[in-house]
Amino acid sequence: MSAIQPSVAQDRSKQASAPVGGSAPNAVGSVGAPIEYILHLADNAVVLGQRNAEWCGHGPILEEDIAMGNVSLDYIGQARLLYQLAATRMGGDATEDKLAYFRDETQFRNYTLLELPHNGPLVGYAVSDRDYATTVVRNFLYGALMVLVWDALEKSPDADLAAIAAKSLKEARYHLHHAADWLVRFGDGTDESHQRAQAAVDHLFPYTEEFWTPSVAEDAAVAAGAGVDVCSLRAAWDAIVNETLSEATLVRPQVRGYVPEGKHGRHSEHLGYLLGEMQGLARAHPGATW
Protein backbone atom coordinates (compact mmCIF):
# COMPACT_ATOMS: atom_id res chain seq x y z
CA MET A 1 0.00 0.00 0.00
CA SER A 2 1.38 3.41 -0.91
CA ALA A 3 2.17 5.94 1.76
CA ILE A 4 -0.59 8.34 2.56
CA GLN A 5 0.41 11.95 2.26
CA PRO A 6 -0.79 14.57 4.72
CA SER A 7 -4.43 15.12 4.08
CA VAL A 8 -5.75 18.16 2.27
CA ALA A 9 -8.66 17.91 4.68
CA GLN A 10 -6.58 19.09 7.64
CA ASP A 11 -8.67 22.21 8.00
CA ARG A 12 -11.73 20.09 8.53
CA SER A 13 -10.22 18.25 11.45
CA LYS A 14 -12.55 19.90 13.91
CA GLN A 15 -15.44 18.40 12.03
CA ALA A 16 -14.26 14.85 12.50
CA SER A 17 -17.68 13.94 13.73
CA ALA A 18 -19.36 15.49 10.73
CA PRO A 19 -17.31 14.59 7.71
CA VAL A 20 -18.26 16.07 4.40
CA GLY A 21 -17.11 14.92 1.00
CA GLY A 22 -13.76 15.63 -0.53
CA SER A 23 -10.82 13.65 -1.66
CA ALA A 24 -7.24 13.43 -0.69
CA PRO A 25 -4.59 12.12 -3.03
CA ASN A 26 -2.88 9.08 -1.58
CA ALA A 27 0.18 9.32 -3.75
CA VAL A 28 1.52 11.64 -6.35
CA GLY A 29 -0.41 11.25 -9.56
CA SER A 30 -2.94 8.85 -8.07
CA VAL A 31 -6.60 9.40 -7.42
CA GLY A 32 -8.28 9.47 -4.02
CA ALA A 33 -11.83 8.37 -3.40
CA PRO A 34 -13.98 10.96 -1.61
CA ILE A 35 -14.08 10.50 2.15
CA GLU A 36 -17.85 10.39 2.08
CA TYR A 37 -17.67 7.41 -0.28
CA ILE A 38 -15.23 5.57 1.97
CA LEU A 39 -17.57 6.22 4.89
CA HIS A 40 -20.49 4.77 2.92
CA LEU A 41 -18.49 1.55 2.45
CA ALA A 42 -17.36 1.57 6.09
CA ASP A 43 -20.85 2.21 7.49
CA ASN A 44 -22.25 -0.64 5.41
CA ALA A 45 -19.66 -2.97 6.88
CA VAL A 46 -20.00 -1.91 10.51
CA VAL A 47 -23.80 -1.97 10.50
CA LEU A 48 -24.08 -5.41 8.93
CA GLY A 49 -21.24 -6.69 11.11
CA GLN A 50 -23.11 -5.43 14.16
CA ARG A 51 -26.34 -7.09 13.02
CA ASN A 52 -24.82 -10.44 12.16
CA ALA A 53 -22.94 -10.56 15.46
CA GLU A 54 -26.31 -10.63 17.22
CA TRP A 55 -26.40 -14.34 16.36
CA CYS A 56 -23.29 -15.10 18.43
CA GLY A 57 -24.34 -17.78 20.89
CA HIS A 58 -27.81 -18.12 19.36
CA GLY A 59 -27.09 -19.79 16.02
CA PRO A 60 -29.27 -22.63 14.72
CA ILE A 61 -26.37 -25.08 14.90
CA LEU A 62 -22.92 -24.73 16.42
CA GLU A 63 -21.06 -24.82 13.10
CA GLU A 64 -23.29 -22.05 11.79
CA ASP A 65 -22.88 -19.98 14.94
CA ILE A 66 -19.15 -20.05 14.27
CA ALA A 67 -19.55 -19.35 10.54
CA MET A 68 -21.79 -16.33 11.15
CA GLY A 69 -19.27 -15.07 13.71
CA ASN A 70 -16.67 -15.27 10.95
CA VAL A 71 -18.82 -13.27 8.56
CA SER A 72 -19.37 -10.67 11.24
CA LEU A 73 -15.68 -10.53 12.03
CA ASP A 74 -14.88 -9.95 8.35
CA TYR A 75 -17.30 -7.03 8.23
CA ILE A 76 -15.91 -5.43 11.39
CA GLY A 77 -12.43 -5.89 9.94
CA GLN A 78 -13.43 -4.20 6.67
CA ALA A 79 -15.07 -1.37 8.60
CA ARG A 80 -11.89 -0.82 10.60
CA LEU A 81 -9.69 -0.57 7.50
CA LEU A 82 -12.11 1.78 5.77
CA TYR A 83 -12.60 4.03 8.80
CA GLN A 84 -8.83 4.10 9.31
CA LEU A 85 -8.38 5.18 5.71
CA ALA A 86 -11.06 7.85 6.05
CA ALA A 87 -9.60 9.06 9.35
CA THR A 88 -6.10 9.32 7.91
CA ARG A 89 -7.36 11.35 5.00
CA MET A 90 -9.46 13.58 7.24
CA GLY A 91 -6.46 14.22 9.45
CA GLY A 92 -6.76 16.13 12.71
CA ASP A 93 -8.12 14.04 15.55
CA ALA A 94 -10.23 11.72 13.41
CA THR A 95 -9.90 8.02 14.34
CA GLU A 96 -11.68 4.85 13.32
CA ASP A 97 -13.56 4.81 16.62
CA LYS A 98 -14.60 8.46 16.43
CA LEU A 99 -16.09 7.75 13.04
CA ALA A 100 -17.86 4.60 14.19
CA TYR A 101 -18.97 5.70 17.64
CA PHE A 102 -19.39 9.45 17.61
CA ARG A 103 -21.29 10.08 14.40
CA ASP A 104 -25.07 10.29 14.65
CA GLU A 105 -27.71 8.37 12.79
CA THR A 106 -28.18 10.99 10.07
CA GLN A 107 -24.43 10.92 9.40
CA PHE A 108 -24.42 7.19 8.72
CA ARG A 109 -24.32 6.39 5.01
CA ASN A 110 -25.16 2.67 5.00
CA TYR A 111 -27.86 1.05 2.90
CA THR A 112 -31.13 0.82 4.83
CA LEU A 113 -31.24 -2.92 4.03
CA LEU A 114 -28.31 -3.54 6.35
CA GLU A 115 -29.76 -1.94 9.48
CA LEU A 116 -33.02 -3.92 9.52
CA PRO A 117 -33.46 -6.39 12.37
CA HIS A 118 -33.42 -10.14 11.65
CA ASN A 119 -37.17 -10.42 11.20
CA GLY A 120 -40.01 -9.46 8.91
CA PRO A 121 -41.44 -5.97 8.56
CA LEU A 122 -42.08 -4.52 12.03
CA VAL A 123 -41.80 -1.05 13.53
CA GLY A 124 -38.65 0.09 15.28
CA TYR A 125 -39.71 -0.70 18.84
CA ALA A 126 -41.41 -4.01 18.06
CA VAL A 127 -39.93 -7.17 19.53
CA SER A 128 -39.61 -10.37 17.55
CA ASP A 129 -37.69 -13.63 17.44
CA ARG A 130 -34.77 -13.53 15.03
CA ASP A 131 -35.38 -15.29 11.75
CA TYR A 132 -32.39 -16.96 10.11
CA ALA A 133 -34.03 -16.75 6.68
CA THR A 134 -34.02 -12.96 6.91
CA THR A 135 -30.33 -13.04 7.88
CA VAL A 136 -29.42 -15.34 5.01
CA VAL A 137 -31.43 -13.47 2.37
CA ARG A 138 -29.91 -10.14 3.38
CA ASN A 139 -26.39 -11.55 3.36
CA PHE A 140 -27.10 -13.01 -0.05
CA LEU A 141 -28.54 -9.86 -1.66
CA TYR A 142 -25.78 -7.66 -0.25
CA GLY A 143 -23.04 -10.24 -0.83
CA ALA A 144 -24.01 -10.45 -4.50
CA LEU A 145 -23.56 -6.69 -4.77
CA MET A 146 -20.28 -6.54 -2.87
CA VAL A 147 -18.44 -9.19 -4.91
CA LEU A 148 -19.09 -6.88 -7.87
CA VAL A 149 -18.26 -3.65 -6.06
CA TRP A 150 -14.99 -4.95 -4.57
CA ASP A 151 -14.05 -6.56 -7.86
CA ALA A 152 -14.36 -3.15 -9.53
CA LEU A 153 -12.67 -1.25 -6.69
CA GLU A 154 -9.77 -3.68 -6.69
CA LYS A 155 -8.80 -1.96 -9.94
CA SER A 156 -9.33 1.54 -8.51
CA PRO A 157 -6.42 3.94 -9.05
CA ASP A 158 -6.88 4.84 -5.36
CA ALA A 159 -4.24 2.37 -4.25
CA ASP A 160 -5.30 2.33 -0.59
CA LEU A 161 -8.90 1.63 -1.46
CA ALA A 162 -7.83 -0.96 -4.03
CA ALA A 163 -5.85 -2.82 -1.36
CA ILE A 164 -8.85 -2.93 0.97
CA ALA A 165 -11.01 -4.05 -1.96
CA ALA A 166 -8.66 -6.92 -2.80
CA LYS A 167 -8.87 -8.25 0.75
CA SER A 168 -12.62 -7.64 1.00
CA LEU A 169 -13.31 -9.34 -2.32
CA LYS A 170 -12.03 -12.66 -1.00
CA GLU A 171 -14.24 -12.31 2.06
CA ALA A 172 -17.27 -11.21 0.03
CA ARG A 173 -16.96 -14.28 -2.20
CA TYR A 174 -17.11 -16.47 0.88
CA HIS A 175 -20.07 -14.50 2.29
CA LEU A 176 -21.98 -14.84 -0.97
CA HIS A 177 -21.19 -18.52 -1.26
CA HIS A 178 -22.23 -19.17 2.32
CA ALA A 179 -25.50 -17.23 2.00
CA ALA A 180 -26.37 -18.71 -1.41
CA ASP A 181 -25.81 -22.24 -0.08
CA TRP A 182 -28.25 -21.68 2.75
CA LEU A 183 -30.75 -19.87 0.54
CA VAL A 184 -30.91 -22.87 -1.78
CA ARG A 185 -31.29 -25.24 1.17
CA PHE A 186 -34.10 -23.10 2.57
CA GLY A 187 -35.90 -22.61 -0.74
CA ASP A 188 -35.60 -26.26 -1.72
CA GLY A 189 -35.74 -27.70 1.80
CA THR A 190 -38.96 -28.08 3.78
CA ASP A 191 -42.30 -26.31 3.34
CA GLU A 192 -41.55 -24.18 6.36
CA SER A 193 -38.07 -23.18 5.21
CA HIS A 194 -39.37 -22.41 1.72
CA GLN A 195 -42.13 -20.24 3.10
CA ARG A 196 -39.72 -18.41 5.43
CA ALA A 197 -37.20 -17.83 2.63
CA GLN A 198 -39.86 -16.51 0.26
CA ALA A 199 -41.21 -14.20 2.96
CA ALA A 200 -37.70 -12.86 3.60
CA VAL A 201 -37.11 -12.34 -0.13
CA ASP A 202 -40.42 -10.49 -0.43
CA HIS A 203 -39.61 -8.36 2.60
CA LEU A 204 -36.04 -7.44 1.68
CA PHE A 205 -36.05 -7.22 -2.11
CA PRO A 206 -37.52 -3.70 -2.27
CA TYR A 207 -34.60 -2.43 -0.19
CA THR A 208 -32.17 -3.43 -2.96
CA GLU A 209 -33.57 -0.65 -5.16
CA GLU A 210 -31.34 1.62 -3.14
CA PHE A 211 -28.30 -0.06 -4.71
CA TRP A 212 -29.18 1.43 -8.10
CA THR A 213 -29.77 5.06 -7.23
CA PRO A 214 -26.31 6.64 -6.98
CA SER A 215 -25.64 9.01 -4.11
CA VAL A 216 -23.67 12.24 -4.39
CA ALA A 217 -20.71 10.44 -2.83
CA GLU A 218 -20.90 7.57 -5.31
CA ASP A 219 -21.14 9.99 -8.20
CA ALA A 220 -18.19 11.95 -6.83
CA ALA A 221 -16.15 8.76 -6.53
CA VAL A 222 -16.89 7.91 -10.15
CA ALA A 223 -16.09 11.46 -11.24
CA ALA A 224 -12.79 11.26 -9.37
CA GLY A 225 -12.04 8.06 -11.26
CA ALA A 226 -11.76 6.10 -8.00
CA GLY A 227 -15.24 4.64 -7.60
CA VAL A 228 -17.56 2.32 -9.47
CA ASP A 229 -20.70 3.16 -11.41
CA VAL A 230 -23.18 1.04 -9.45
CA CYS A 231 -25.72 1.02 -12.24
CA SER A 232 -23.19 -0.74 -14.45
CA LEU A 233 -23.24 -3.66 -11.99
CA ARG A 234 -26.95 -4.22 -12.15
CA ALA A 235 -27.05 -6.80 -14.95
CA ALA A 236 -24.38 -8.92 -13.30
CA TRP A 237 -26.17 -8.67 -9.95
CA ASP A 238 -29.47 -9.67 -11.57
CA ALA A 239 -27.80 -12.70 -13.09
CA ILE A 240 -26.36 -13.90 -9.74
CA VAL A 241 -29.62 -13.28 -7.93
CA ASN A 242 -31.91 -14.79 -10.54
CA GLU A 243 -29.80 -17.90 -10.89
CA THR A 244 -29.72 -18.59 -7.16
CA LEU A 245 -33.39 -17.77 -6.63
CA SER A 246 -34.29 -20.15 -9.42
CA GLU A 247 -32.13 -22.93 -7.96
CA ALA A 248 -33.83 -22.25 -4.64
CA THR A 249 -37.25 -22.45 -6.31
CA LEU A 250 -38.01 -18.96 -5.01
CA VAL A 251 -39.81 -16.16 -6.83
CA ARG A 252 -38.32 -12.73 -7.37
CA PRO A 253 -40.97 -10.20 -6.38
CA GLN A 254 -42.06 -7.22 -8.43
CA VAL A 255 -40.72 -4.09 -6.82
CA ARG A 256 -42.16 -0.61 -7.08
CA GLY A 257 -42.71 2.42 -4.91
CA TYR A 258 -40.53 3.85 -2.17
CA VAL A 259 -36.79 3.64 -2.66
CA PRO A 260 -34.87 3.66 0.64
CA GLU A 261 -32.33 6.43 1.19
CA GLY A 262 -30.04 5.20 3.94
CA LYS A 263 -26.93 6.12 2.02
CA HIS A 264 -28.15 9.71 1.99
CA GLY A 265 -28.49 9.61 5.78
CA ARG A 266 -32.28 9.13 5.79
CA HIS A 267 -32.78 5.82 7.56
CA SER A 268 -35.42 3.45 8.86
CA GLU A 269 -36.62 3.44 12.46
CA HIS A 270 -34.17 0.66 13.19
CA LEU A 271 -30.77 2.33 12.87
CA GLY A 272 -31.30 4.54 15.92
CA TYR A 273 -31.70 1.47 18.14
CA LEU A 274 -28.72 -0.27 16.59
CA LEU A 275 -26.44 2.75 17.07
CA GLY A 276 -27.83 3.47 20.53
CA GLU A 277 -26.72 0.02 21.62
CA MET A 278 -23.44 0.05 19.72
CA GLN A 279 -22.32 3.55 20.69
CA GLY A 280 -23.73 3.92 24.21
CA LEU A 281 -20.76 2.69 26.25
CA ALA A 282 -18.17 4.51 24.15
CA ARG A 283 -20.16 7.74 24.38
CA ALA A 284 -20.57 7.40 28.15
CA HIS A 285 -16.76 7.63 28.39
CA PRO A 286 -15.69 10.18 25.78
CA GLY A 287 -11.94 10.41 25.54
CA ALA A 288 -11.36 7.03 27.17
CA THR A 289 -8.97 4.55 25.55
CA TRP A 290 -9.95 0.90 25.42
Binding site: V46, Q50, A53, E54, C56, G57, H58, G59, P60, I61, L62, E63, E64, D65, I66, G69, N70, S72, L73, I76, G77, A79, R80, Y83, E96, D97, A100, Y101, D129, R130, Y132, V184, R185, F186, D188, G189, T190, E192, S193, R196, E277, M278, G280, L281, A282, H285, G287, A288, T289, W290
Partner: protein
Protein backbone atom coordinates in the same frame (compact mmCIF):
# COMPACT_ATOMS: atom_id res chain seq x y z
CA UNK B 1 -12.74 -21.82 28.84
CA UNK B 2 -13.63 -24.45 31.27
CA UNK B 3 -15.22 -25.99 34.19
CA UNK B 4 -14.86 -27.08 37.78
CA UNK B 5 -16.89 -30.03 36.90
CA UNK B 6 -14.54 -33.00 36.77
CA UNK B 7 -15.65 -33.67 40.27
CA UNK B 8 -19.26 -32.64 40.00
CA UNK B 9 -21.65 -35.45 39.26
CA UNK B 10 -24.33 -34.62 36.69
CA UNK B 11 -27.45 -35.51 38.61
CA UNK B 12 -26.72 -35.11 42.26
CA UNK B 13 -25.20 -32.33 44.25
CA UNK B 14 -22.77 -33.15 47.02
CA UNK B 15 -23.77 -36.80 47.20
CA UNK B 16 -21.27 -38.77 45.16
CA UNK B 17 -21.56 -42.16 43.51
CA UNK B 18 -20.02 -45.20 45.13
CA UNK B 19 -16.84 -46.81 43.78
CA UNK B 20 -17.31 -48.71 40.53
CA UNK B 21 -17.92 -52.45 40.92
CA UNK B 22 -15.51 -54.39 38.74
CA UNK B 23 -17.52 -56.78 36.59
CA UNK B 24 -15.23 -56.40 33.60
CA UNK B 25 -13.25 -59.11 31.85
CA UNK B 26 -10.16 -59.46 34.09
CA UNK B 27 -7.69 -59.97 31.24
CA UNK B 28 -8.83 -56.93 29.29
CA UNK B 29 -8.96 -54.98 32.52
CA UNK B 30 -5.37 -55.96 33.35
CA UNK B 31 -4.17 -54.85 29.91
CA UNK B 32 -6.03 -51.56 30.28
CA UNK B 33 -4.60 -50.98 33.75
CA UNK B 34 -1.11 -51.76 32.50
CA UNK B 35 -1.45 -49.22 29.70
CA UNK B 36 -2.67 -46.58 32.16
CA UNK B 37 0.14 -47.38 34.58
CA UNK B 38 2.69 -47.03 31.76
CA UNK B 39 1.21 -43.60 31.01
CA UNK B 40 0.08 -44.83 27.59
CA UNK B 41 -2.87 -43.45 25.62
CA UNK B 42 -6.25 -45.12 25.24
CA UNK B 43 -7.67 -44.67 21.73
CA UNK B 44 -11.33 -44.95 20.61
CA UNK B 45 -10.94 -48.46 19.15
CA UNK B 46 -9.25 -49.80 22.31
CA UNK B 47 -11.12 -51.78 24.92
CA UNK B 48 -11.94 -49.72 28.00
CA UNK B 49 -14.00 -50.36 31.11
CA UNK B 50 -17.54 -49.03 31.01
CA UNK B 51 -17.01 -46.78 34.00
CA UNK B 52 -13.99 -45.17 32.33
CA UNK B 53 -16.03 -44.52 29.20
CA UNK B 54 -18.93 -43.08 31.20
CA UNK B 55 -16.69 -40.87 33.28
CA UNK B 56 -15.00 -39.53 30.17
CA UNK B 57 -18.27 -38.85 28.37
CA UNK B 58 -19.53 -37.01 31.42
CA UNK B 59 -16.35 -34.99 31.82
CA UNK B 60 -15.84 -34.15 28.13
CA UNK B 61 -19.49 -33.29 27.54
CA UNK B 62 -19.58 -31.09 30.65
CA UNK B 63 -16.51 -29.41 29.30
CA UNK B 64 -18.13 -28.95 25.85
CA UNK B 65 -21.34 -27.60 27.40
CA UNK B 66 -19.25 -25.14 29.42
CA UNK B 67 -17.65 -23.81 26.24
CA UNK B 68 -21.05 -23.30 24.62
CA UNK B 69 -22.84 -21.82 27.62
CA UNK B 70 -19.70 -19.75 28.20
CA UNK B 71 -20.35 -17.94 24.89
CA UNK B 72 -23.34 -16.20 26.47
CA UNK B 73 -21.87 -14.10 29.30
CA UNK B 74 -19.26 -12.61 26.97
CA UNK B 75 -21.63 -12.49 24.00
CA UNK B 76 -23.62 -10.13 26.20
CA UNK B 77 -21.05 -7.40 25.47
CA UNK B 78 -20.36 -7.86 21.75
CA UNK B 79 -22.95 -5.32 20.62
CA UNK B 80 -21.70 -2.75 23.15
CA UNK B 81 -17.93 -3.19 22.87
CA UNK B 82 -16.50 0.34 23.22
CA UNK B 83 -14.08 0.15 20.28
CA UNK B 84 -14.05 -1.72 16.99
CA UNK B 85 -10.79 -3.40 17.88
CA UNK B 86 -12.25 -4.77 21.13
CA UNK B 87 -15.43 -5.78 19.33
CA UNK B 88 -13.42 -7.80 16.81
CA UNK B 89 -11.32 -9.41 19.57
CA UNK B 90 -14.44 -10.33 21.51
CA UNK B 91 -16.28 -11.83 18.54
CA UNK B 92 -13.19 -13.88 17.72
CA UNK B 93 -12.93 -15.06 21.31
CA UNK B 94 -16.56 -16.08 21.61
CA UNK B 95 -16.17 -17.88 18.30
CA UNK B 96 -13.10 -19.71 19.60
CA UNK B 97 -15.13 -20.94 22.57
CA UNK B 98 -17.70 -22.30 20.12
CA UNK B 99 -14.84 -24.02 18.32
CA UNK B 100 -13.69 -25.58 21.60
CA UNK B 101 -17.21 -26.88 22.10
CA UNK B 102 -17.05 -28.40 18.65
CA UNK B 103 -13.74 -30.26 19.19
CA UNK B 104 -14.94 -31.51 22.55
CA UNK B 105 -18.28 -32.79 21.27
CA UNK B 106 -16.30 -34.56 18.54
CA UNK B 107 -13.91 -36.05 21.11
CA UNK B 108 -16.86 -37.30 23.18
CA UNK B 109 -18.52 -38.74 20.07
CA UNK B 110 -15.53 -41.07 19.64
CA UNK B 111 -16.79 -42.73 22.84
CA UNK B 112 -20.11 -43.59 21.21
CA UNK B 113 -22.34 -40.80 22.46
CA UNK B 114 -23.88 -38.49 19.83
CA UNK B 115 -23.90 -34.72 20.03
CA UNK B 116 -27.70 -34.84 20.09
CA UNK B 117 -27.61 -37.09 23.15
CA UNK B 118 -25.20 -34.76 24.88
CA UNK B 119 -27.28 -31.70 24.02
CA UNK B 120 -30.36 -33.47 25.29
CA UNK B 121 -28.51 -33.91 28.60
CA UNK B 122 -27.71 -30.20 28.73
CA UNK B 123 -31.15 -29.01 27.67
CA UNK B 124 -33.02 -31.24 30.11
CA UNK B 125 -30.88 -29.90 32.94
CA UNK B 126 -29.32 -33.30 33.64
CA UNK B 127 -25.80 -32.46 32.49
CA UNK B 128 -23.80 -29.81 34.29
CA UNK B 129 -21.59 -27.08 32.92
CA UNK B 130 -19.15 -24.77 34.66
CA UNK B 131 -20.91 -22.73 37.29
CA UNK B 132 -18.78 -19.68 36.58
CA UNK B 133 -21.12 -18.94 33.68
CA UNK B 134 -24.13 -18.66 35.95
CA UNK B 135 -23.09 -15.20 37.08
CA UNK B 136 -24.04 -12.05 35.18
CA UNK B 137 -21.56 -9.90 33.22
CA UNK B 138 -22.44 -6.46 34.50
CA UNK B 139 -19.85 -4.13 33.06
CA UNK B 140 -17.46 -4.10 30.12
CA UNK B 141 -14.48 -5.01 32.34
CA UNK B 142 -16.12 -8.39 32.99
CA UNK B 143 -14.96 -9.34 29.49
CA UNK B 144 -11.34 -8.63 30.36
CA UNK B 145 -11.61 -10.25 33.79
CA UNK B 146 -13.16 -13.38 32.30
CA UNK B 147 -10.22 -13.60 29.92
CA UNK B 148 -7.67 -13.04 32.64
CA UNK B 149 -9.13 -15.10 35.49
CA UNK B 150 -11.67 -17.52 34.02
CA UNK B 151 -9.59 -18.49 31.00
CA UNK B 152 -6.61 -18.39 33.36
CA UNK B 153 -8.24 -20.86 35.72
CA UNK B 154 -9.27 -22.96 32.74
CA UNK B 155 -5.65 -23.17 31.61
CA UNK B 156 -4.57 -24.36 35.07
CA UNK B 157 -7.23 -27.06 34.90
CA UNK B 158 -6.55 -28.07 31.34
CA UNK B 159 -2.76 -28.08 30.98
CA UNK B 160 -2.60 -31.38 32.92
CA UNK B 161 -5.35 -32.77 30.66
CA UNK B 162 -3.05 -32.41 27.65
CA UNK B 163 -1.48 -35.57 29.13
CA UNK B 164 -4.85 -37.19 29.87
CA UNK B 165 -5.03 -40.95 29.21
CA UNK B 166 -7.74 -40.67 26.54
CA UNK B 167 -6.07 -39.76 23.22
CA UNK B 168 -8.76 -37.67 21.51
CA UNK B 169 -9.40 -35.65 24.68
CA UNK B 170 -5.73 -34.99 25.31
CA UNK B 171 -5.20 -33.88 21.70
CA UNK B 172 -8.23 -31.57 21.81
CA UNK B 173 -6.81 -30.07 25.02
CA UNK B 174 -3.48 -29.24 23.40
CA UNK B 175 -5.23 -27.10 20.80
CA UNK B 176 -7.72 -25.61 23.26
CA UNK B 177 -4.99 -24.66 25.75
CA UNK B 178 -3.10 -22.68 23.11
CA UNK B 179 -6.19 -20.63 22.39
CA UNK B 180 -7.09 -20.19 26.06
CA UNK B 181 -3.60 -18.80 26.72
CA UNK B 182 -4.16 -16.30 23.95
CA UNK B 183 -7.52 -15.33 25.49
CA UNK B 184 -5.92 -14.87 28.86
CA UNK B 185 -3.24 -12.55 27.52
CA UNK B 186 -5.80 -10.54 25.54
CA UNK B 187 -8.03 -10.19 28.59
CA UNK B 188 -5.16 -9.07 30.79
CA UNK B 189 -3.97 -6.59 28.16
CA UNK B 190 -7.46 -5.07 27.90
CA UNK B 191 -7.48 -4.62 31.69
CA UNK B 192 -4.02 -3.02 31.67
CA UNK B 193 -5.29 -0.42 29.21
CA UNK B 194 -8.37 0.24 31.34
CA UNK B 195 -6.30 0.55 34.52
CA UNK B 196 -4.17 3.20 32.80
CA UNK B 197 -7.35 5.01 31.76
CA UNK B 198 -9.96 7.03 33.61
CA UNK B 199 -11.18 6.70 37.20
CA UNK B 200 -14.41 5.19 35.88
CA UNK B 201 -12.53 2.57 33.88
CA UNK B 202 -10.44 1.54 36.90
CA UNK B 203 -13.61 1.29 38.98
CA UNK B 204 -15.12 -1.04 36.39
CA UNK B 205 -12.13 -3.36 36.56
CA UNK B 206 -12.14 -3.45 40.37
CA UNK B 207 -15.91 -4.09 40.42
CA UNK B 208 -15.55 -7.00 38.00
CA UNK B 209 -12.67 -8.50 40.00
CA UNK B 210 -14.66 -8.15 43.23
CA UNK B 211 -17.58 -10.07 41.75
CA UNK B 212 -15.60 -12.78 39.94
CA UNK B 213 -12.59 -13.59 42.14
CA UNK B 214 -14.24 -16.03 44.54
CA UNK B 215 -16.22 -17.65 41.74
CA UNK B 216 -12.95 -18.34 39.94
CA UNK B 217 -11.46 -20.02 43.00
CA UNK B 218 -14.55 -22.23 43.21
CA UNK B 219 -14.05 -23.22 39.54
CA UNK B 220 -11.40 -25.73 40.66
CA UNK B 221 -14.08 -27.73 42.40
CA UNK B 222 -14.70 -28.84 45.96
CA UNK B 223 -11.79 -29.35 48.38
CA UNK B 224 -9.93 -32.63 47.85
CA UNK B 225 -11.38 -34.10 51.05
CA UNK B 226 -14.89 -33.81 49.53
CA UNK B 227 -14.07 -35.06 46.01
CA UNK B 228 -14.23 -38.85 45.84
CA UNK B 229 -14.56 -38.68 42.03
CA UNK B 230 -11.13 -37.12 41.91
CA UNK B 231 -9.44 -40.19 43.32
CA UNK B 232 -10.90 -42.42 40.61
CA UNK B 233 -10.06 -39.81 37.96
CA UNK B 234 -6.45 -39.74 39.15
CA UNK B 235 -6.24 -43.51 39.00
CA UNK B 236 -7.37 -43.43 35.38
CA UNK B 237 -5.15 -40.60 34.31
CA UNK B 238 -8.19 -38.48 33.53
CA UNK B 239 -7.31 -36.09 36.28
CA UNK B 240 -3.68 -35.44 37.10
CA UNK B 241 -3.53 -32.79 39.79
CA UNK B 242 -5.96 -32.35 42.69
CA UNK B 243 -8.48 -29.51 42.96
CA UNK B 244 -6.72 -27.91 45.90
CA UNK B 245 -3.30 -28.09 44.29
CA UNK B 246 -4.61 -26.47 41.12
CA UNK B 247 -6.39 -23.79 43.12
CA UNK B 248 -3.19 -23.00 45.00
CA UNK B 249 -1.22 -22.77 41.77
CA UNK B 250 -3.82 -20.37 40.40
CA UNK B 251 -3.73 -18.14 43.48
CA UNK B 252 0.07 -18.10 43.49
CA UNK B 253 0.22 -17.16 39.82
CA UNK B 254 -2.53 -14.54 40.01
CA UNK B 255 -1.50 -12.45 43.03
CA UNK B 256 1.56 -10.93 41.31
CA UNK B 257 -0.48 -10.27 38.16
CA UNK B 258 -3.07 -8.40 40.21
CA UNK B 259 -0.29 -6.28 41.74
CA UNK B 260 1.04 -5.29 38.31
CA UNK B 261 -2.49 -4.47 37.24
CA UNK B 262 -3.17 -2.41 40.35
CA UNK B 263 -6.34 -4.18 41.44
CA UNK B 264 -7.13 -5.52 44.90
CA UNK B 265 -8.17 -9.15 45.21
CA UNK B 266 -11.17 -9.11 47.57
CA UNK B 267 -9.80 -11.39 50.29
CA UNK B 268 -8.48 -9.94 53.57
CA UNK B 269 -6.88 -13.32 54.38
CA UNK B 270 -4.82 -13.39 51.22
CA UNK B 271 -1.16 -13.23 52.26
CA UNK B 272 2.18 -14.88 51.58
CA UNK B 273 2.99 -17.80 53.88
CA UNK B 274 6.76 -18.03 54.18
CA UNK B 275 6.64 -21.51 55.71
CA UNK B 276 4.41 -23.01 52.98
CA UNK B 277 5.97 -20.90 50.22
CA UNK B 278 2.43 -20.26 48.99
CA UNK B 279 -0.26 -17.65 49.42
CA UNK B 280 -2.85 -18.37 52.08
CA UNK B 281 -6.39 -17.46 51.14
CA UNK B 282 -9.76 -17.21 52.88
CA UNK B 283 -12.76 -19.51 53.01
CA UNK B 284 -14.66 -20.17 49.79
CA UNK B 285 -18.43 -20.03 50.21
CA UNK B 286 -19.22 -23.63 49.23
CA UNK B 287 -22.87 -23.29 50.17
CA UNK B 288 -23.24 -20.62 47.49
CA UNK B 289 -21.23 -22.75 45.04
CA UNK B 290 -23.47 -25.80 45.50
CA UNK B 291 -26.58 -23.68 45.30
CA UNK B 292 -25.42 -22.48 41.92
CA UNK B 293 -24.30 -25.92 40.72
CA UNK B 294 -27.73 -27.25 41.64
CA UNK B 295 -29.42 -24.68 39.42
CA UNK B 296 -30.21 -21.88 41.83
CA UNK B 297 -27.58 -19.30 40.95
CA UNK B 298 -28.35 -15.86 39.56
CA UNK B 299 -28.32 -16.80 35.85
CA UNK B 300 -28.77 -20.59 35.61
CA UNK B 301 -32.29 -20.36 34.27
CA UNK B 302 -31.48 -17.65 31.75
CA UNK B 303 -28.39 -19.43 30.46
CA UNK B 304 -30.09 -22.76 30.03
CA UNK B 305 -33.32 -21.36 28.60
CA UNK B 306 -31.30 -19.36 26.08
CA UNK B 307 -29.45 -22.48 24.90
CA UNK B 308 -32.74 -24.37 24.65
CA UNK B 309 -34.37 -21.52 22.72
CA UNK B 310 -31.49 -21.28 20.23
CA UNK B 311 -31.72 -25.02 19.68
CA UNK B 312 -35.50 -25.04 19.26
CA UNK B 313 -35.56 -21.93 17.08
CA UNK B 314 -32.90 -23.51 14.89
CA UNK B 315 -34.84 -26.73 14.37
CA UNK B 316 -36.37 -25.62 11.06
CA UNK B 317 -32.91 -24.63 9.77
CA UNK B 318 -31.47 -28.05 10.56
CA UNK B 319 -34.58 -29.72 9.12
CA UNK B 320 -34.20 -27.73 5.90
CA UNK B 321 -30.55 -28.72 5.52
CA UNK B 322 -31.44 -32.36 6.05
CA UNK B 323 -34.41 -32.27 3.66
CA UNK B 324 -32.31 -30.60 0.99
CA UNK B 325 -29.52 -33.17 1.33
CA UNK B 326 -32.05 -35.99 1.01
CA UNK B 327 -33.55 -34.43 -2.10
CA UNK B 328 -30.10 -34.06 -3.62
CA UNK B 329 -29.33 -37.71 -2.91
CA UNK B 330 -32.61 -38.81 -4.47
CA UNK B 331 -31.89 -36.70 -7.56
CA UNK B 332 -28.43 -38.21 -7.85
CA UNK B 333 -29.87 -41.72 -7.54
CA UNK B 334 -32.47 -41.00 -10.22
CA UNK B 335 -29.81 -39.71 -12.57
CA UNK B 336 -27.66 -42.74 -11.94
CA UNK B 337 -30.62 -45.09 -12.55
Amino acid sequence: MYTQSFSVPDNAGQKNVAAVPSTENPELMAAFDARIDADGRIEPQDWMPDAYRKTLVRQISQHAHSEIVGMLPEGNWISRAPSLKRKAILIAKVQDEGGHGLYLYSAAETLGTSRDQMLEGLHSGKAKYSSIFNYPTLNWADVGVIGWLVDGAAIMNQIPLCRCSYGPYSRAMVRVCKEESFHQRQGYEALLVMMQGTEAQRAMVQDAVNRLWWKCLAMFGPPDADSPNSAQGMRWGIKRISNDELRQKFVDATVPQAKVLGVTLPDPDLKWNEARQHYDYGQIDWQEFWNTVEGNGPCNKERLATRVKAHNDGQWVRDAALAYTRKQQQRAQKEAA
